[in-house]
Subunit: 284 residues, 2 copies
Amino acid sequence: MTFEKVAVVGLGLIGGSLAAALHESREVWEVFGVERDPESLRFALRKGIIDKGSSEIGPDISGSKIVVIATYVDTIAQVAKEVSRFVLPGTAVCDVGSVKAPVVREMEKGSWRIRFVGAHPIAGKETSGVRESDPGLFSGKKCIVTPVESTSPEALSMVKTLFSLAGGEVVEMDPESHDEVFSLVSHLPHAVAYSLVNAVASGGRDRNLFDFSGGGLADLTRIADSSPEMWAGIFIENRDALLRAIRGFAGELGKIEKAVVAGNVEDLVALLREARDSKRNLGE
Amino acid sequence: MTFEKVAVVGLGLIGGSLAAALHESREVWEVFGVERDPESLRFALRKGIIDKGSSEIGPDISGSKIVVIATYVDTIAQVAKEVSRFVLPGTAVCDVGSVKAPVVREMEKGSWRIRFVGAHPIAGKETSGVRESDPGLFSGKKCIVTPVESTSPEALSMVKTLFSLAGGEVVEMDPESHDEVFSLVSHLPHAVAYSLVNAVASGGRDRNLFDFSGGGLADLTRIADSSPEMWAGIFIENRDALLRAIRGFAGELGKIEKAVVAGNVEDLVALLREARDSKRNLGE
């Protein structure tokens, strides 16, 4: 499958990396980028991450075989609506957001002129912005697509091909399962990391407690360097699943707290051993 | 300063690594190891981690200029009492435990025949046991000593020299400050990591959720592979400070939860930005 033209809306870390990967592929002839920030757009053009670009969604995205929306999760439906005004009816559109059910279900309801496919490549890092983009970012990484009953098989097939061209391993999930899984493996850990930094910073007052930490604290707080705006959007989009995850986690921490209060070594060892064994079984 | 003989009681990761480092130093003539587990003791002798060894504390530790107690924190006072029966009066004894006030204050009370110095080299990893020991483990790492009013200056000086010989950078703190700092930078992160694994494992039921995680979850749960018995002891020894740290952290997580419940993007961004900025300022 070849793509004469692919448009990427939003040249951040993920959009920029996907554009760069597609630009390197022989199966994609033209990568068109849309990016509001003039400096990021110039950077993408200068570095050859995109062939052409524009600062806003307009008639020059027409002719795209597929449009990738790589903006924050809370803006995707709005951007998709905007895209639909300028592309041929039936054009495949996908997103790359970390929350799937709200956007997929909203796109299902509207009588859009586009064929939408929810997607989420599992390839972030704590840095952000087009300057950090890397054509190899998706190489060997799971790229989840979340088709529903109304999803066009042709559009789905195009989106899967696109992520394969970028080096990803495509996996299908339903949007609700996706959101539950990622509330636990990604959104909760981010909430925990941010909270841990705030707890250490306020507990330490003026002292620089990080001076005294071994590698553990650095590891646990690395992802707290991620974009606050992006993650606030993800947390609120995936609100119900995230709240379940936070409460489940708080319950587990409460069990440890209770055993410490009681000075109950046996219970405490049992809780820590359960975690240690799960960690080992889960093979990380 | 040379040491004709140093005894290390407990050949786990820290005890074994310290014995190995001292064994490589020209300033230490004999390293004597005490280790209950016969296989670990044989391993330490065979690999030249120690010169001589025994399965229990007895008369053959006499003649030691300094005795290092490297057993779990909840056993240190008991082991020190045992050591005091076999060494010359006034022999310097230190520990390497992660909690300092309880043991330092208990040693202060008793009319021991030894001169005790609390110590804590900040050099752990999630693995454990003498087979993991590494003479370079302390190289460039902070080794905290916690003298109090009653601490013998000569014993303190010997203990500082010992950790310097092992490659450490010696730092003095009072025991209570130490325990407060480490409740935040080490004990809390461990409690969080163990709880996170338990939350993900029980939230995921039969699915292997770790398959879907990016690097974030792996980083946050790496230290959940640490020894449950050792950490249960540390949590309970440092109970009051740890409970304050857990409650402070739960309060921070509660703020994020509250903003998510309310769908308040501004508050949420402010909380995450505060964490992101602290993380950056704290220079990790």
